[in-house]
């Protein structure tokens, strides 16, 4: 089935087409979201939400871009919305704790192990993923798409609606910032020893 046929079948609410869509794109969606939110359970939940949104709004898809580009956009938006909501919840809980009505929150800073990392690079990858979380939003998304999804600058430029030059700039600044964050991390680690 070609992409156009798949889209046409999805617009007719064809069940088989939806199954095909899920089997074709589930790993792409899950992998992207996982690299952004860095949490397995949340990533699965959000990936499900992405497919529900695709199913609900396929009629509005005007095919100006590839289906995968559109699905990437939805995945990124969902992940960033989720992070914003999580941060807002944390802030409210902090305020509640200040006035003594908040629930006690567990300190849930968990190290993130990406399943696609080779065993000998696991430790460095954990440190790198922690550093990636501190990057500004656009730099983080560009870095994640290029490094973990293996997308080209051109593909990322279409997903983010910016020029290829702008993607290059984002990647350059992301690497610079990561070097700064990692340098601070290793200096602190050395001082502690």
């Amino acid at each position: 089935m070609t992409e156009n046929q798949l889209i046409a079948a999805l617009k007719q609410r064809n069940e088989q087409a939806f199954t095909l869509l899920v089997s074709n794109y589930q790993n792409m969606v899950f992998n992207t979201i996982l690299a952004i939110v860095q949490h397995f359970h949340d990533a699965e939940d959000l990936a499900q939400d992405v497919f529900i949104q695709v199913y609900e709004s396929i009629d509005g898809f005007r095919q100006e871009s590839k289906l995968s580009t559109w699905i990437y956009k939805i995945s990124i938006t969902k992940s960033l919305d989720f992070e914003r909501a999580k941060k807002a919840k944390k802030r409210i809980n902090l305020l509640k704790n200040l006035i003594g009505i908040g629930e006690k929150e567990e300190n849930n800073i968990v190290e993130f192990h990406h399943p696609g990392i080779a065993l000998d690079k696991k430790e460095e990858a954990i440190i790198l993923f922690k550093a990636i979380k501190q990057l500004p939003q656009n730099q983080r998304i560009a870095f994640v798409l290029i490094k973990t999804e293996g997308l080209s600058y051109n593909a990322v430029s279409q997903i983010l609606n910016i020029s290829e030059k702008a993607v290059e700039g984002l990647m350059h600044r992301a690497k610079e910032n990561l070097r700064k964050i990692l340098s601070n991390y290793y200096i602190n680690a050395n001082n502690k020893q």
Binding site: N27, F30, I52, E56, A125, L128
Partner: protein, 104 residues
């Protein structure tokens, strides 16, 4: 020491090179379908005012009732007044009440 840190930084930055894809968990589609049934059922049973179609429909209905109410309160009253006035005049003529009161 600086060299050592720089090496570690480069090593860390390259730790994502040749990263493999994280696959979606088993039975992803089964769980997705269960969630879909729940979510779509909720969406079906709710009128979401954030959707332009519902917002426009509600506004149009309100506008219609407003116009109708304005018409109802202005036009019919005028008609009734005119009718009342005609009735009163007819009554005066019928009973010859339009005579000058100074006669009495």
């Amino acid at each position: 020491m600086i060299n050592d840190i720089n090496n570690k930084i480069e090593e860390t930055l390259s730790s994502l090179d040749n990263i493999g894809q994280a696959n979606a968990p088993n039975f992803f589609e089964t769980r997705l379908r269960a969630k879909m049934e729940k979510t779509l059922l909720i969406h079906k049973n709710s009128y979401n005012l954030k959707k332009p179609i519902w917002a426009v429909a509600l506004l149009t209905t309100l506008l219609f009732f407003n116009v109708y109410a304005i018409k109802l309160t202005s036009k019919p009253v005028n008609k009734q007044n005119i009718q009342n006035q005609t009735n009163i005049q007819g009554f005066i003529i019928d009973y010859q009440l339009n005579t000058n009161s100074s006669q009495y």
